[in-house]
Symmetry: C2
């Protein structure tokens, strides 16, 4: 995604370009499929085709990307969707912690955009 952001406006980038650094391209293709289905990249098929961001780098967050790749953050079965059939009846003391951490981390991920990553201006400078 950073690669695509760096080449924003240059037309669709073929897999081979993106895979440059030793990542197997058939695998990358699979991963890009997730990003496409999540609506983060658009593709052009056929010769001169390739992948590009579907919207501006400012409008794509770390959370968008991570959720596209791995689904919603799931630190524990306990939190998240209902049908979790926890043996403890869903009322154990740990649950609140997981819920809290999930919210906080999602908040962090929401606050980071692709554009931030490019410019290296992540809050707190590190």
């Amino acid at each position: 995604m950073i690669y695509l952001a760096q080449h924003e406006g240059e037309g669709p980038q073929p897999l081979k370009n993106i895979a440059e650094l030793g990542m197997p391209d058939q695998y990358l293709e699979q991963l890009l499929g997730n990003l496409r289905r999540a609506g983060l990249v658009t593709t052009v098929r056929g010769a001169q085709g390739g992948y590009q961001l579907s919207r501006s780098a400012e409008e794509i967050t770390a959370r968008h990307i991570i959720e596209a790749m791995e689904g919603p953050l799931n630190l524990s079965e306990c939190v998240g969707e209902e049908g979790h059939t926890c043996p403890r009846g869903g009322q154990c003391t740990a649950r609140g912690v997981w819920a809290y951490l999930t919210d906080e981390i999602n908040g962090l991920l929401d606050s980071i955009t692709l554009s931030n990553m490019l410019k290296n201006d992540i809050k707190g400078d590190m």
Copy 2:
């Protein structure tokens, strides 16, 4: 750990008590070994033996527990220890994000104690 905190001061709790809820006890034993080696629980061997917290529930954080079980939070090879041999020479744009997230999440984990969990007073109430 929550179980042990709930039984603080009642003497060592044997595995079987802790495993109560359907968790295989031989596996739990293995996990408790990690907590012991990390210094979070102390054990008494032999009859009437068992596990107990090595210090007060206020002094044990979520981070202590998670690091005992899984080692230091490692969101990406890029950050953390030096010898990571990243093909990009260790200078890619994503690195700052991982470093930032690692710090922030560690901070969150530092701020939650076992005692907080028991009382369900996690900051931000959820």
